[in-house]
Amino acid sequence: MTSTSNRYQVSIEADPTLPIIHVTRDFDATPAQLLRAHTDPELYARWVGPDDTEAEILDWDPTTGGRWRWVGRRDGQEWGFHGCFHDVREDRIVQTFTYDGQPDDVALETLVFEDLGDGRTRLRAQSLVESFESRDQWLASGMETGVEQGYAKLDDLIGELT
């Protein structure tokens, strides 16, 4: 079943040989606008989500060698995340990412803003996580949204994995 939305769709790929998640999505924006939406704390807090979750930025220095920390709050519960900006450039952000609830796990995230021209940009996000187990927990965390949708067919999945 395909979505009726004509918006750009996210593609997710779980690398079968490395504990990596690849996320790709196109945007009607320039690389500079995408960079701004990822580095301006007020803008970032507005979209990082999830829905119904209020994000508060506690620490934010989006420069090479800088650091970040924010908490998400919903229904009296809090989830904290922190990391370092390893590299911030016009076309990429490389950062570490740790969920406070699993302080031993550090993910290395590489976000690349690829200019497609005509005011469109492709975001390629790669997360290298601690282990296959961590990766699978990340993927499983999507279950919490409980969104009911049509699911990709078995053949599609095998196609992606093959």
Partner: protein, 122 residues
Amino acid sequence: MGDDQLSRVFAALADPTRRDMVSRLAVADATVGELAQPYDVSVQAVSRHIKVLADAGLVSQTRDAQRRPCHLEAEVFDLMTKWIERYRLQAQERYERLDAVLAELRGDERPDDTTHHQGAAS
């Protein structure tokens, strides 16, 4: 499907030979001997691969007289697909919020477009 089983499923599919076996079993059931044919490996090695797939719940071996064909448990894939699809939907929601932020940025920067002449100096 619990976390442990999901991990076993991903681990089982981390091997290219096992992924290829799964692709072939998606077309039709096959015996270990039939599965071994295209590979330069022993039937015993294929049996070990099948055991990993079976432990992950991906493959079952039914008793069909002497044949014991391997059968792909499609429901396990269906569950795994749901997990990934839900993660994808969460990311999709996040990026639709980002779309809204970017739409505002485009609005903000439109006045600038009249003052920044790209390339042309006139």
